[in-house]
């Protein structure tokens, strides 16, 4: 199975808008789901005004909530 690449922005703007919660939400997925995901952090996705931002398989989503993120990758 192809792995989802999930890049969470941890720049200051996204940090303030809950980047940690996004990371925690992904890490909290059950084992087999988590295995299908490659989680990375990046310093900025150039969407600072819409923070928090993530990039999933190359596509940027901002702003995004932890619930929305989980929906998109499971």
């Amino acid at each position: 199975m192809k792995k989802h690449l999930v890049e969470v922005c941890i720049g200051t703007s996204c940090h303030l808008m809950g980047a940690q919660d996004l990371i925690r939400a992904v890490q909290g997925l059950p084992g087999e789901k988590l295995n299908s995901i490659q989680l990375k952090t990046v310093p900025c996705l150039k969407s600072c005004d819409k923070s928090p931002a993530v990039r999933i398989n190359g596509q940027i989503f901002a702003p995004i909530t932890p619930e929305e993120l989980i929906k998109k990758i499971t």
Binding site: I10, G11, T12, S13, H15, L16, M17, G18, A19, Q20, D21, T41, P43, C44, C48, T65
Partner: protein
Amino acid sequence: MLNIVTELTKLKRRIYISLARFTLKDQLVEKVESLPELLANADTPRYRCCEYKEQAILKEMIKLAMGFDPEQYKNMSLIEMAKQIDQLESDKRIIHVLSVACDRCPIDKYMITDACRNCVAHSCVSACPRNAIVIIQNRAYIDQGKCIECGRCKVACPFGAILENIRPCERACAVDAIKADYSRQASIDYEKCIGCGNCVRSCPFGAIEDSTQIIQVIKMLKDPETKVNAIIAPSFIGQFGAKVSPGKLKAALVEIGFSEVYEVALGADMVALNEAHELVERLEKGQPFMTSSCCPSFLSLIQKYFPEIADKASTTVSPMIALARLLKKTDPESKMVFIGPCITKKIEAQKEKDIDAVLTFEELGCILVSMGINLAEYELEEEIKDASSHGRNFAYAGGVANVIREILKEEGKENLIKFAHVDGIVNCKEALQKLVEGKLDCNFLEGMGCEGGCVGGPGSMMNSKITTRLVQKFADKARWKLALENKAAEEKRKSLAHAMER
């Protein structure tokens, strides 16, 4: 503490960032009035009944963020306040219930459960002074519009069918300083309040907030005539993400206009030395125990609720005050901005002329964002070398007691002392009660209002478990292990002499 960023926290931070931006561009007067509409309109997610109510709440939040008591300036428009910003009276109480937001806390304090037997006596009906209880189809109900939450029905019901719900703010306050009144508005009794900030975190509607000095600090930074120092609390390590090094934050503070940046851990070195000697002296004079004094909530808890032992609290000032007094002594004209995780430090600073403003880490983060600084991409770094590992370890629970133990060990006096530490207001209260009753086996008690110590403070942004480890790592890298080896701290402490006392 997990520090979850709720939608309301985001909204609050967006207010901070916007106000900071306006101030930077000298557009506050021009733009502030339109901010509520900008942040809450038909297209934005809604947290309350309608966008108009949302905007009314935002107005109150903005007044607080500008540094003023929204109740005091209830009838003043935002634009008027922005125009007179330097003349209006700054907020002294710091923590406020926003009346519009609290207005409809949807919690029905008393509810009748299925355990209602529709008894013949209807004791609840006769107990209610407002005729708020009706019987429909063999079961009693409370008309919540009439209920004044007196609780008489609950006492009256012989089957225990009436449930009492406690509002989150009331439950969060360990000293019963919050009460919801007749109109179901919560209010803080400031005589009882110890400023811990637990209520601020507890309200799911963001109806309890603290005021900020974001605008005032930016104005100081913009004024070329004013020298502004930043003094940063030991718990700052990792607050902007585990990957942002302490040196980067320092460089960024210099870039945005602070003249000098100091670790409050230097003040903590001075405090540790002072407090260790004070402890030995006091015990030798026959005092049975001493409590720490660096956390203002803990100190206030003692003063307000355990007055019989208030004279046993250390009289050493907090690290923030020690450092500020020291710096002001050499440069009385400079301004001092404390940056930390703490709300109650805002209250402490009001009483001290040596601190000109207090920012929390989240407020500083908003200022950085407004200036376009992204610490994750930041390249510059400045060395930080003010403090020993001792001072740096003040940031988490147990740190202070341990440092004092190590100082006294060096001096061969460790055996005199039995150390204990406690964190979180509820636990502090319990420990102090035991101490008063002679049931706590210690003669030095360290108390921290926040769970985990300052790393768990209400203005912090990271999980305190992670930041505690980062703080310890940073402490290990200090130039000196012991406060005693930080000769500057010892000399400075002596040069301040009485100024080290509260």
